[in-house]
Symmetry: C2
Subunit: 250 residues, 2 copies
């Protein structure tokens, strides 16, 4: 059964794209067949894997509009996983789909022809709770929530969990939260630890035992077109994502 | 002449909201009359200034729909500036305005009755380049662009500047970029400095001379309901924003 995991958090810059790439590559190193889906018009996922997105004609946007078959838009990457890329055209998707019947199910239907080819499909969401995010939550059976341990994160988490509850109630009963992943963690400050403790005690959701610490290697890796797993394999960051992959495979 | 400044960058988590609050408070300490406008449905600006946003009936959303007069929705804050707050209702705005005539001008028209009361109106944008962002770029006469000095920032900047060019050409000839502000700067790594140098040499846009360094104080300040100017006045962060306010006042 293909595990389709939405990497979700409407707050900006909390590590969704980094988690999608790093976890995706870590899973493929465990011999899993992995597809990464870029659902953000800003296409950071696609760019970080060295795709020249502006010139792309076959993207997730055109797949959602049934203009291109999904098999044609999926490409390999040099890191291991396959990718269904995005570019700025996707910014038109929400408006275009908004008026259509079954508008929350376009992605679920688009993934149908290929899902059996993969063990894991990871969906990289944009920083919003609009129609693209809802499509992802309807297509997915699990959600991983990267969270930056700082004050404002708790409120965003509350809103996200209530949105997931609504989607589960009305559109996708199988949806469950696999866990919260603390990211960009600064172990040397009390603030991060306090917020992490608050998250663990406040929410009835699993919080993964591993924490992804802040490291400049994450900033450098996209410039090299590599995931952290290939760029700095011996450091904490790569090890945290490898541990997360193993935890998911248990 | 009221200076209306859009704090813009479609990339998530780069310091837009932090810049709006910190610069706004710094300007009010220079005896400027300041209004902060929250244009993000996630309402981090409003929350950081201790507003209970969920209960708010008078928000920027209802002002844009002409359901509430702007004077009624504007509130004072304990930090100095006034605020026109947001809450999650604003997420319906883009869809609702999309079909209406003059849809890019709603904010400009909404601000008209009050702009002469203020020396500065700062607009806090969401992490996207949708209709709310375009409304802000049409209402504004200047743009400040907070930029995190890392690899992916340069691409986002290119897209933002081309969007500003388009708005200037088609909708708002007065719009100009006041400058790029390097944020969350990690002075100890070569990567940040390299990206900053690349930004300075690549773009024909002013890059402000001050840099806002990374500091955990910024993470703690919203928990105290304070801007960095009040929370940690003697540290680099507060001084960088105070210097930015003075530079804008020259
Ligand atoms: N552990 C980490 N340490 C340091 N930097 C990190 C870490 N994880 C991610 N980053 C960097 O922080 C920035 C934001 O991360 P990322 O793009 O993954 O967040 P995001 O949630 O996908 O953002 P958006 O909401 O804009 O899509 C990127 O430059 C990324 O390289
Ligand atoms: N100089 C800094 N040092 C450390 N943390 C910072 C700094 N500036 C901002 N932050 C923190 O980083 C996080 C993101 O900042 P902020 O919310 O201002 O970004 P944003 O661009 O408005 O995000 P979004 O795209 O989600 O609206 C916040 O928790 C904020 O407190
Ligand atoms: Mg992302
Ligand atoms: Mg913000």
């Amino acid at each position: 059964m293909t595990r389709i995991i939405a990497i979700a958090n409407q707050k900006g810059g909390v590590g969704k794209t980094t988690t999608t790439i790093s976890l995706g590559v870590a899973l493929s190193r465990e011999n899993q067949r992995v597809l990464l889906v870029d659902l953000d018009p800003q296409a950071a996922l696609s760019v970080s894997l060295s795709l020249a997105v502006a010139q792309l004609r076959e993207t997730v946007y055109r797949v959602l509009l049934s203009e291109v078959p999904i098999e044609q838009a999926i490409r390999g990457t040099h890191s291991g996983p396959d990718i269904l890329p995005a570019n700025i055209d996707l910014s038109a998707a929400e408006l275009e789909l908004a008026a259509q019947m079954g508008r929350e199910r376009f992605l679920a239907e688009a993934l149908q022809p290929v899902s059996s080819k993969y063990d894991f499909i990871l969906l990289d969401l944009p920083p919003s709770l609009g129609l693209l995010a809802v499509n992802a939550l309807v297509a997915a059976n699990e959600v991983i929530i990267p969270v930056q341990c700082e004050y404002l994160a708790v409120r965003a988490l509350t809103l996200l969990l209530s949105t997931i509850d609504k989607v589960q109630a009305k559109l996708n009963p199988q949806l469950r939260v696999a866990g919260i992943l603390p990211t960009m963690f600064n172990g040397r400050t009390l603030h991060s630890q306090e917020v992490l403790d608050e998250i663990r005690s406040t929410f009835r959701v699993h919080v993964f035992p591993m924490v992804v610490k802040h490291s400049v290697r994450f900033k450098e890796a996209p410039a090299a077109g590599l995931s952290i797993i290939d760029y700095a394999p011996d450091q904490d960051g790569a090890q945290a994502y490898t541990a997360l992959a193993k935890e998911l495979l248990q």
